[in-house]
């Protein structure tokens, strides 16, 4: 069974960067979301067992998505991929239950290593 995975980022370039960094042999079913609302919709529809989440997004930002998932005890594994690399942002993200924080520009090797560490591969 392929794993349902969602990439949530308002930037097309950024979504492409994440997509390309995913291991080619990883058996997944991929969904893309352009903002926080779409990300939550993907989770609700069972399309995001793993969620790659940007923080600065229109409509609903990544922090709000994390809060919502946290409040609803969602089982989604969230990996935040963000340009907001301030220590306070990282701390907040971790306290809201994200599994990992990866800084942009995304290093493909770091993403693969993270997936391996989380036992997702």
């Amino acid at each position: 069974m392929p794993i349902p995975v969602t990439i949530a980022d308002d930037s097309l370039l950024s979504r492409k960067t994440v997509r390309k960094a995913l291991p080619a042999d990883w058996d997944i079913e991929l969904t893309e979301a352009c903002n926080g609302k779409e990300a939550l919709a993907a989770v609700a529809a069972g399309k995001a067992e793993v969620l790659f989440l940007d923080l600065t997004m229109p409509e609903l930002d990544g922090f709000a998505v994390l809060r919502d998932l946290h409040d609803h005890h969602a089982k989604t594994v969230v990996i935040v991929i963000s340009a907001d690399i301030q220590p306070q942002a990282r701390k907040l993200v971790e306290s809201l239950g994200a599994y990992r924080f990866l800084p942009k520009p995304l290093q493909p090797e770091q993403l693969r290593q993270t997936l391996a560490e989380l036992g997702l591969l």
Binding site: D10, S11, L13, T56, P58, S82, I85, Q86, P87, K104
Partner: protein
Amino acid sequence: MNLQLTELQRDALQELMNISMGQAANALAQLIDAKISLSIPKISLVAAAEFQQIFSTDQYWFTRQSFLGSVKGEVLTLLARAGIETVGGLLHYALPLDERSEKELLLELANILAGACLRGFSTQLALPTKVSMPTLFQAAMRQADSFRWSSTLLLEVEFQLEGTAFDSRIVICLEPQSVELLLEKLNKLLED
């Protein structure tokens, strides 16, 4: 200069600026132990009259820095007059700020934010540049034509220091030839 950006180019520029801005905010956050909120970068093509609008405010101080290298242009930094004392306090300046320390603080802030922003941008695109030290200038006394940027590409980001009235805007102005080179690099990035 007759220039149009495709949606993809605009998206890519926005994302590159977003990352640069994150690095700049982090550079300042490390020094002041406060959180800086980031906005979505603004990419625009402007004519002289619109460019002049940037300066039609007395709410900000202005600094400028030129940069040279594979791309050339100028970085303008707008620093809010409101909340500058708070920022000075966070950076351990003696308060109240006197004229000299105020100037020093403004130049330091411009150097940190604009420097990191430009570095982030040029590194990601592999377009090395060297940026000069900032100088303060009186915006109100300048005419649009005293800048070379009669019609150009502007990359603009805004920082807001949480819990204070302070905000800062960074505007990167590129020379026409540099815009061409930038777009070439962007297209390559988008093709990959």
